[in-house]
Amino acid sequence: MQNRPSGFGNPWLQLGLSVVCVIVSEFLLKRGATDIAEPDSAFSWTGINGLASPLVWWAILLIIASFISWLYVLRYVPLTVAYPLSRIVDVLVPLGCWIFLGELISALRWCGIALVIIGLALVAKPIAQIEERL
């Protein structure tokens, strides 16, 4: 993690941007895939028929954006740290559904969210200490 750029080039900021793009694309993909679902067609196992949906194309644009940020992150951060942190997506998506869509979260799901947050804290804490020393 030597020579880490600051400002827009900060790898942690880029990791955040990548995560936001992924979250939005997940919703777009599910909507798009549902809109054009053809479960009876064997060809649709390839997913290529999904390209008929404009939502899927928007999702692809966001995925490309998140991918560029992600490659940049990989240049500076070890995969053992960056990849687990990127899975904060799995907490933010259900929390977003709860806050914005009024969906209910079961007790078991809250436990799962808590486990992910504890895991993220374990992965992130040593980095926070390294950053402080720099």
Binding site: E26, L29, K30, A33, T34, I36, A37, E38, P39, S44, W45, T46, G47, I48, N49, G50, V56, I63, F67, W70, L71, L74, R75, P78, L79, T80, V81, Y83, P84, R87, D90, V91, P94, S106, A107, L108, R109, C111, G112, I113, A114, L115, V116, I117, I118, G119, L120, A121, L122, V123, K125, P126
Partner: protein, 114 residues
């Protein structure tokens, strides 16, 4: 779940995990050797091709199953990628990082099963 669905879920997960490892290697290589050399281009192209395979297989699966059903399998990628990055890419893996990755994996599986 049919055998066919299980097959596509496994192939999609494997190609995603492999892609991440190859892309990490490509970016490490580019940090010392720059972007304009054939090794970087072939590594990055392989990684992107594997990501594309995984993307379209997931799109095919999403037409048949709920996102919440498919998500636990994506969650498994955390522990696979962490362990393989340590083994294949020789990244340092502390007990703390392993425990963190295990908790995140378990949490994702719980969230999507409930």
């Amino acid at each position: 779940m049919s055998i066919l669905a299980f097959f596509f879920i496994v192939v999609s997960l494997l190609s995603f995990v492999l892609a991440q490892l190859i892309l990490k290697r490509a970016m490490e290589f580019s940090a010392t050797n720059g972007l304009r050399n054939s090794r970087f281009v072939s590594l990055a192209a392989t990684g992107i091709a594997l990501m594309t395979v995984s993307f379209f297989l997931t799109l095919g699966l999403l037409q048949r199953f709920d996102l919440s059903y498919l998500y636990p399998f994506q969650g498994l990628s955390v522990i696979f990628i962490t362990l393989l990055a340590a083994m294949v890419l020789k990244e340092k893996l502390s007990a703390r990082l392993t425990l963190g990755a295990l908790l995140i994996t378990a949490g994702i599986v719980l969230v999507s099963m409930s």
